[in-house]
């Protein structure tokens, strides 16, 4: 029974990916391209050689952070859709410290990451507090705060930290930048993301508090009746979730972008939510999904160059994966579907 469930949980995302690619192929055929060649180019572009792999991991890094951010809050039963705002707040504070404090090198990096985490955590605390003390809908508040953060960032790159005539902030000093690894595009930010992913996994599944947090997420009333401080868990999960996004913002700034600029982090928040949902709120799966999406994005450029299939086909495939995965997971919860699965597994047992 349990095993069947697990199997279904893996099969649904896989099936959605296959379906999405199938439709993608039909579109390519309609465009007059050979889908097999196009897909091969997509693969080469993303994983074909070690350089491309590095680029893919670099693109995956911010998605991992926002994915874990969404995943952590969902696990406690609250919906943090403000990953983008928290990510941006982290990068703003990081940018201020990196360019203004004069502290450089390793201490500078450490300070930037910690400050980024704090900024993201505090930003996420706002919807958390409003939810537990005023009963406000955390989804709406956290989404609205995304706009506040984006516009605040605008003030920084157009006014306060503006670098000359271009609307962008000055660059992070070279000594504070995160180093590239093995001469490839990806930096130690990726390592930080993976470590945080592993820590999240460990916390959720190997500690007593993590266990209780999941219980709160699955049934708040029962958690309350069993003596868990539900409100505290909700607030803490918001803060931690925001802190993960905040570190992500710092790491992205120090590792990849170096400057705040129009469009920085745009879309990362909702991408993260999709990663977490397709990864079924499992931190490790969420990371894998993030890498998969990054691969689609990186590979599509090669595909376009080699076969003339536009990158938007890759966007379509990404969107379809999300649609199918979410629909599939909803379908699995239907009573009719559950009954069918039970029948199947009962048959197996008889054999």
């Amino acid at each position: 029974m349990k095993n069947t469930n697990k199997l279904v949980n893996i099969l649904v995302p896989l099936a959605s990916v296959l379906l999405a690619f199938l439709i993608g192929c039909i579109i390519m055929l309609a465009l007059g391209a050979n889908p097999l060649v196009a897909l091969q180019n997509l693969w080469t572009g993303a994983f074909g050689n070690i350089r491309n792999l590095g680029t893919t991991l670099s693109r995956a890094t911010p998605l991992i952070f926002t994915g874990l951010c969404a995943c952590f809050a969902y696990r406690c039963g609250v919906f943090n859709l403000g990953g983008e705002g928290q990510f941006i707040m982290g990068s703003i504070v990081c940018c201020v410290i990196a360019t203004q404090s004069g502290i450089t090198g390793f201490p500078g990096i450490l300070l930037c990451l910690v400050a980024g985490a704090l900024a993201g955590g505090l930003w996420a605390m706002i919807p958390g507090l409003l939810k537990i003390y005023r009963g406000q809908n955390e989804m709406i508040i956290s989404i609205m705060l995304n706009y506040v953060a984006t516009l605040l960032m605008g003030v920084f790159y157009t006014n306060w930290l503006r670098d000359g005539s271009v609307p962008q902030t000055m660059s992070v000093p070279k000594e504070t930048m995160l180093q590239r690894m093995f001469g490839l595009r990806f930096t130690s930010a990726f390592v930080i993301a993976v470590v945080i992913g592993l820590l999240t996994y460990y916390f959720l599944f190997y500690t007593s508090k993590g266990f209780q947090l999941r219980a709160v997420g699955l049934n708040m009333t029962a958690a309350q009746f069993n003596g868990f401080a539900v409100k505290r868990y909700i607030l803490v999960s918001f803060i931690v979730s925001g802190a993960i996004a905040g570190i992500g913002g710092s790491a992205e700034l120090l590792g990849t972008q170096y400057r705040l600029i129009n469009g920085f982090a745009s879309g990362y928040g909702f991408d993260g939510v999709s990663m977490a949902l397709i990864g079924q709120l499992h931190p490790l799966a969420t990371m894998l999904v993030a890498v998969f999406f990054a691969a689609l994005r990186v590979g599509s450029t090669t595909m376009q160059a080699a076969t003339g299939v536009p990158t938007s086909v890759s966007d379509i495939i990404q969107a379809l994966v999300i649609v199918f995965a979410v629909a599939g997971l909803a379908m699995v919860k239907l009573p009719e579907f559950k009954a069918a699965i039970d029948k199947l597994s009962a048959k197996k047992e008889v054999k």
Partner: protein, 502 residues
């Protein structure tokens, strides 16, 4: 008097369970006919069949001598059957007038002839003495007036037969008088009323005839003139007292819970407590008898720290409770078998194992470094041990708790709550919906807890269970303690009357 409605041999089955079995009911023109019965006796199911929400599995319905098929609530309205539900079906943000004409099907053309409608409604209201303010919002009028709106709405749609489901539950005494006057006018004009109530006093006053339901079947129909409260109560309960399996204890040495003059949400008769004083002794089972929804849920939640009383004093093991939080109560040794096992007791999406260990993963036995690393092996071994000890029947302890039967779910909760070796156990409907085997097991386990010195509060809507288990019985009605009785040779009739508020 001529007959307006006859229900013949009505049977309604849900799966294997009979909610109604071979029920016969006839309603005469211009009478008030009361349906009397305990919770789960089948009153609501029968009425839902009558207004077309349910289709009967078997049986026929005759209206004015003609057989009818009522396949939807709209059909019921068309046939002149109106129902005022216990919880009103009104749109709060709309005015009284709008609520009354809402969903009315006699509209001609695109526009609503408001003036004409208004005149019609006012005439109806006048005729039956239904005093309503047509232009007020529903939110701004009293509960009594909302009820009058519901009645007016049903009459406006042409109801000849009006079903009132526990109409007095939410009313003040004065409003009840007003309602009775309205009922008098309705029957005077030849309308028939089906009255559903638990309250003996009201039933005896208002009814012409009374039909008693028990366990989904009709017991009998009696004329009010030939009925007495005591007789009705015993017909409703329908039992000879069977001797209890268990030895009853008396005079506990010390008290583990003391409530003094506790109030909670006092004005709400059905979800509040008013001036409740009681004690639970170590090594005794205190049974709370009463019809569901007379403050029992609030009592249980109060003694488990889920809600905070408005006034009064609560002592646990001789010290006054300062903070009402479930955590604090659990630390004081209070265990809780909550009324709704799926919602309050279990995390359905977690496994049997995780639910057994829900409260205890932080203990050194199950984790290292103060909860920082779970000992998965120890957790599994313990869960297996509990599965054996409490006879939890499941394919695997990794199975989701949601997928187990009610009895086995309850055993998970029992294992978790009793292995904490509580000093106080609050058990609310612990055997509701369970089969005989599981019920017996749970009863035996509760007696064992009593023998080891635990003070048990048993709340149940099942009167038999209360009689069987309790060393002492307290009856609750509308949030108040109606009386206290010994569990040894309890005066059944007296208790039944107290449960009905007399």
């Amino acid at each position: 008097m001529e007959e307006i409605l006859r229900m013949e041999h009505i049977t309604k089955r849900f799966g294997d369970m009979y909610a109604n079995r071979d029920i016969n009911l006839d309603i005469r023109k211009g009478e008030v006919h009361t349906l009397l019965g305990e919770n789960g006796a089948g009153k609501s199911t029968l009425m839902n069949v009558l207004i077309g929400l349910y289709q009967p599995t078997e049986g026929k319905i005759f209206l004015n001598g003609q057989e009818v098929r009522i396949d939807s609530p709209a059909k019921a309205v068309q046939l002149g059957i109106g129902m005022v539900h216990q919880h009103f079906m009104l749109v709060e943000a709309m005015t009284v007038f709008e609520n009354i004409i809402l969903g009315d099907r006699q509209a001609k053309g695109v526009f609503i002839q408001k003036e004409q409608r208004r005149r019609e409604i006012l005439a109806l209201a006048e005729k039956y003495g239904l005093d309503v303010q047509l232009d007020k919002l529903i939110t701004d009028i009293s509960v009594g007036e909302q009820q009058r709106v519901e009645i007016l709405k049903a009459l406006y749609r042409g109801a000849e037969l009006l079903i009132l489901d526990e109409p007095t539950a939410a009313l003040t005494d004065l409003e009840v008088e007003g309602l009775f006057a309205i009922i008098g006018k309705l029957t005077g004009e030849g309308k028939s009323v089906v009255f559903i109530s638990h309250k003996m006093r009201e039933v005896l006053r208002i009814s012409d005839r009374i039909t008693i339901l028990r366990a989904g079947e009709t017991v009998c129909t009696v004329d009010r003139a030939n009925a007495s409260a005591g007789e009705l109560a015993s017909l409703m309960m329908g039992r000879e007292l069977a001797p209890s399996h268990y030895e009853k204890k008396e005079n506990p040495e010390r008290q583990v819970v003391v409530l003094e003059h506790v109030d909670y949400n006092k004005t709400a008769k059905h979800s509040g407590l008013s001036d409740v004083s009681l004690t639970i002794g170590a090594g005794e089972i205190l049974g709370i008898a009463g019809v569901d929804g007379n403050g029992q849920s609030q009592l249980a939640q109060l003694i488990t720290g889920v809600i905070t009383p408005d006034a009064g004093r609560v002592d646990l093991k001789n010290s006054k409770v300062a903070k009402f939080m479930p955590q604090a109560f659990i630390e004081e040794g209070v265990s809780h078998i909550p009324e709704d096992r799926n919602k309050m007791g279990l995390v359905g999406d977690m496994s049997v194992k995780e639910n057994i260990l829900l409260k205890s993963t932080g203990l050194p036995r199950f984790s290292r470094f103060g909860g920082m690393f779970l000992k998965k092996k120890a957790m599994k071994d313990y869960a297996l041990e509990m599965q054996e000890k409490y006879d939890i029947r499941c394919a695997s302890i990794e199975q989701e708790a949601r997928s187990l039967s009610g009895g086995n779910q309850q055993k998970i909760i029992l294992a978790r709550e009793l292995e904490a070796r509580p000093d106080i156990l609050i058990a609310v409907h612990p055997t509701r919906g369970l089969d005989i085997g599981a019920t017996r097991f749970i009863h035996d386990t509760m007696i064992e807890a009593r023998e080891s010195g635990c003070g048990v509060l048993l709340i149940s809507a099942d009167f038999d269970e209360i009689l069987e288990m309790s060393d002492r019985i307290i009856v609750m009605f509308e949030g108040q303690v109606m009386g206290e009785y010994s569990g040894k040779n309890p005066p059944v009739e007296e208790i039944s009357l107290a449960m009905a508020g007399k």
